[in-house]
Subunit: 283 residues, 4 copies
């Protein structure tokens, strides 16, 4: 793989921020030249100016940043095998939300980041080329991306979500009272929540009511994860509302990188409907 | 600016190697949308999928790597002001040559690197969009790029070159006897040199003889630089051969970042015939 | 110089965060061996297990992170010449404060960071070895460090401060009404401010009243900086209160890296009472 | 974990080079204060100025650099669980040798690197705190470190070595004729090899003859690895010479990160005789 960390100043955040990007370069070769990018040399595809990759926005968990999932798993190799590009923003425990205290991380991730990434890197535009996968806090982030912007993502994967934005209003209200203050510091209080931009159940109902195309949802959690019931509940509500959702529980696994290393592989290799090939400009 | 360090495995080198890339992102905005990329908002140009930048290959000196010129100068700001993208390979004291001991850095920098960079990043293809600027060992590297591949570079800048490939055959022979063994370890000995791929004078003569288009050459050196005479000599030979070359000597300056910080600015802001604007796909 | 970026999870922030550290390695040599670290070889001092460096906490400005001051100035070289170690945290526009929304950046920078840095890196402990220098938002951060923890810093430098914590209560109240919402999102409102931990005037008065040893304060600003009056005002109040403070205004310079590149050099080379030598364990 | 990449100029290499260092920071806390570093808070040990860690030099393979093993495995977590610090140099396919073409990587790794790392980072000095683990080309590198400098390493691990320095003189001679030119470009030819600094069998015989203390050797390889016989042969010679060596073959595994991820865990968690605790200054 090729990997990089890009540091630039985001306009929407008004912050210098980091993005990790990885490309499946071990499967690419310059030796094919420009004549026939679709040919293969020893199983490799051509580098070619103007080529693009399907893109998975890979969302880190709470307390982490854009580097951690790459460091704690074998994620680069999973992306390599599936010929997909990964992009990870760093969201500073914002729950991937437009926070009460000013930083608009949701708008950043859904509006600014794709334009920047498609402008500066070889990321294929278009809903059918765009996916989101998140773990822990990033799992809820992925749900929020898919439910609030169903026009942008072909499919989303929530691994062990449960903290932050959720489809379960009762669960949300409880989370405002947790000893752990992040939800109440970041998202609206009891009175402002229902129907707000953070109320994912409203977003899901709007998709149904509006007859909008929704992403495919995939949800996975370890059977021993302390947050298992909340994750299951998000699945249950999506399923009851009639959205296209799969759920898988991993027996014996918990809320840690033992589970995530396995399921990031599964998400990229099995769940997501990826093309698993570069996209050349003549297509 | 936006800056990144890309780590990937080069095919030609068969090494995991680093590339520093910087983009003039402080002059870009997502707020213009896609409708009119040529409009300006507060002096900024639009991010737009498919946009490209003119590209300067910025070549580090001996004992350095791809990060050092960025760390020791205000180079990011010079690139920003001139709306150009910078790309720096890391060449491990190879003199930017195909070394005797196996690593083909010249082929890497001129053949593989541009294809990779134009495939994965927003680097505009084409000779008229491609420049090379080097300092110290990288100055000779830039000369070599321009003389051996005049088809690839619109203009090249040599700042304080003098070590490695040169237009002065007598000087080259002397450098084989230096206490400092890098030239004799890397490049051909006395008997194999003349007419070899490393003999820049032959390359220059071929350009003239073949009536090929040559890049514009710009050479700068500090008057107090220990290597000043060798740099001047490269200028003199280029000029005598009738190539398009400018020479400037900075009074009182030496072989260090005092000189390079000033002259990297001059090279990007004044010498190179840059467009100083992004290139959008509809152009 | 040697430079690194350390990524680890801060306990107080409960975030994976980045720290830039640079060491004056160009002035060090392994060739001296262990026998006589005080000898010099070609002007270099010895690497020696157990050696320590005086440490300057270098505080970035608003919208920046730990990397920006190093990228936009020649800071590594200024540190090299003064044989000092630099440490920069990344504070996500928190004004170096314990924010209303939960992240305790002030405690992180003053309590956790020094312990971590002195445990994992060669940073000399003790007030006489510890300094803070900040630019823009980091200038006010440096003032806050010196006034709230006068026991920790020998001297602090504020370059172009003005946003966030200040000695001017009237100015603070005005800043709550700025269109720019960062101050009111981060720090206390009008009613809670006076006497709070964020009220630097109270802190300064306590130092005087308690007869505590204060750091030496150095304040610099460009004459054309839009924030010049607020910076001058912080100087004026410190001076009126009888603290040890110097002020310098740079004619014709503004709120940008033209000024900061010059004055970071001045701060490290002239203002701060540095030893300009490593500290070996036998001293 | 905490991880960093340090870029500095090596004296012996005369190159700006990268070192990856990781620390087991997830197991450390600042909340214990300085009074009792041996106490534990929720299973964590204290950060404390002057603390040190046992250090494993982790040697990357051919075509890789200091970052690759961390990116392709879960190595940070293995180091975390075993409370050990990892240090990885980047050796540019030099076979960890003093190369024919001038770069003295062996001297760099064994003489300069430990002094630099112990001077700038919290690496415990002394043979009993120092280990080497390598994979592929790095496996032979680890053998060479242990056999040529038995005074420096308590134990070394060779995972899937086989290329470069070896204990098998016949195999070495054959490798000079490989299509793959790295051995003959880097190491001595047939006539100069026997008894040279690169002839590991001589080094092993000297240890025995001199009655020197040797490190413990651990060798592992996948049963399906193409290089399996060469690895086994290195084991066989060490064993015949009477050195302390273990050998383990992993059924069904090959020369890839499937094997290395498992066996790096095994090496750190089981094979190496680590203390698995920080070392505080009062011990």
């Amino acid at each position: 793989m090729g990997i990089l960390r890009f540091s630039y100043r985001s306009e929407l955040l008004s912050l210098t921020t980091n993005i990790t990007v990885c490309y499946p370069t071990a499967s690419l070769t310059t030796s094919l030249g420009y004549q026939d990018p679709h040919a293969e040399v020893k199983g490799k595809k051509a580098y070619r100016p103007g080529m693009k990759f399907q893109t998975v926005y890979l969302l880190h968990g709470g307390g982490e940043d854009d580097t951690v999932p790459y460091r704690y798993t074998q994620l680069e190799q999973f992306a390599e095998r599936n010929m997909v590009m990964l992009v990870s923003p760093s969201v500073n425990d914002s729950l991937y939300a437009n926070t009460k205290y000013g930083f608009k991380y949701f708008d950043y991730v859904t509006q600014e980041l794709p334009v920047v990434v498609q402008s500066l890197f070889a990321s294929a535009p278009g809903r059918s080329n765009t996916f989101a996968v998140g773990l822990a806090m990033g799992g809820n982030g992925a749900l929020a991306l898919g439910l609030k912007r169903p026009d942008l993502y072909e499919a989303v994967v929530d691994l062990s979500g449960g903290i932050g934005m959720t489809l379960d209003r009762v669960g949300y209200m409880e989370s405002l009272d947790w000893e752990f203050p992040i939800v109440r510091n970041t998202l609206p209080g009891k009175d402002e929540y229902a129907g707000s931009e953070h109320d994912l159940r409203s977003c899901a109902e709007e998709i149904i009511a509006g007859g909008k195309q929704a992403p495919a949802f995939f949800i996975g959690v370890g059977s021993e994860d302390f947050i298992r019931d909340r994750v299951y509940n998000d699945y249950r509500v999506l399923d009851e509302l009639g959205l296209n959702v799969s759920y898988e529980e991993a027996p014996g696994l918990g809320h840690d990188y033992g589970f995530w290393n396995l399921y990031l592989d599964k998400a990229l290799s099995t769940w997501l409907p990826l093309k698993r090939t570069p996209i050349y400009g003549d297509e």
